[in-house]
Symmetry: C3
Subunit: 153 residues, 3 copies
């Protein structure tokens, strides 16, 4: 058996809950928004369903990545810089040398993700956290829309 | 306070609406499908919920990116070419030198995304548009499945 | 006309179904989980709606890619190795030289995706399959959470 499926659970889909999280970044790097997502689900009274996050920007991104060793985040940032270096000959440079690389990084990582919710809890793996990655050098104020689709508690 | 959550809104989830958008591309580059998504939501009579898009191909992709300066799209295309150059020693080359790089670009960008919907409108940021990126050189006919899950107006 | 939208179908959203798929990988490479997804939908009695998959790990990823020529998977693996080489000067190396590159690949590909479901069937394109990509060298046991939101048959 290469794979094995667990028993299937079912719940009624009743509501969609929505709220906006504002995140003030400190420039390039990771901001953990896992706690804010948990807070949203608790406040909404979420039961069984799907949590969705959407970032309303094109020079930052969302990712689910390791929450243990902070060196991983440093290395991920370095990896992105190598994939989209400021020194490359970009045409779009009116907003500064870090803007076009930021768009490339945002495109590669994406601005949307979802996490299953079981009994009101994010079904993240042990080592997973939800992060907003700021790709610009300067601090920015960013908006993330949280949604939950599923049953109420 | 590193982040602040807005009040939470709730709406009933009633329906899932689905339709297929056919996009004729002109070869490598971006096609804006934001207007088509808005048209779909208006026709469906969508209220509060989630818009989802899915691309039925493996050598093109979907992205949410800047809708202002067209130079950004040129630079994004160049960035993808650098990440997956035609000159690399690909094994799979029966469909032409641009086919395998197209698969790599599609894998990195992905073929699925979602956008929250508020009062029937896509909750995109000011500078965000939804794009289909054609990664092949030749024009192709592509299919995108649009869905909306949420309340009716 | 650059694009054309089909007629819109509507179905009631009744339930969210959830189950966990365990996948034992054989080390670096692709595992096809399309059949397991179909099995989940059939067992759940899914009708019209959305299938979602979520991977509970940070050194493997999910992708929708070509299901025909196996050389494509080999080339995709090679492409990822070029984008995140083991020989790069990573800080995080306590878990082996293949660990940090695995995190980078997982970030770029992502761990979440969705596929529309029509009449209980995944609306994949002809050449699309759903894959778990193992980025570590050693075999691992991985968990993927499958969900379906929509109508019952």
């Amino acid at each position: 058996m290469p794979d094995r499926l667990s028993p299937i659970s079912e719940a009624a889909v009743q509501s969609v809950f929505s709220a906006t999280l504002r995140v003030d970044t400190h420039g390039t790097g990771f901001t953990d928004i896992t706690f804010a997502a948990r807070d949203f689900l608790a406040q909404a009274g979420a039961g069984e369903g799907v949590f969705l996050a959407f970032l309303r920007h094109t020079s930052a991104s969302l990712t689910i990545q390791e929450n243990a060793d902070p060196d991983v985040q440093t290395d991920l940032t370095t990896a992105l810089e190598r994939l989209a270096p400021e020194a490359a000959p970009w045409i779009h440079d009116a907003e500064g040398p870090d803007d076009m690389p930021a768009h490339v990084k945002a495109m590669l990582n994406g601005v949307t993700l979802h996490v299953p919710v079981t009994d009101g809890k994010l079904a993240l793996g042990t080592w997973q956290g939800i992060y907003l990655i700021e790709h610009r050098r300067a601090p920015h104020s960013r908006e993330v829309i949280f949604q939950f689709v599923g049953s109420r508690k």
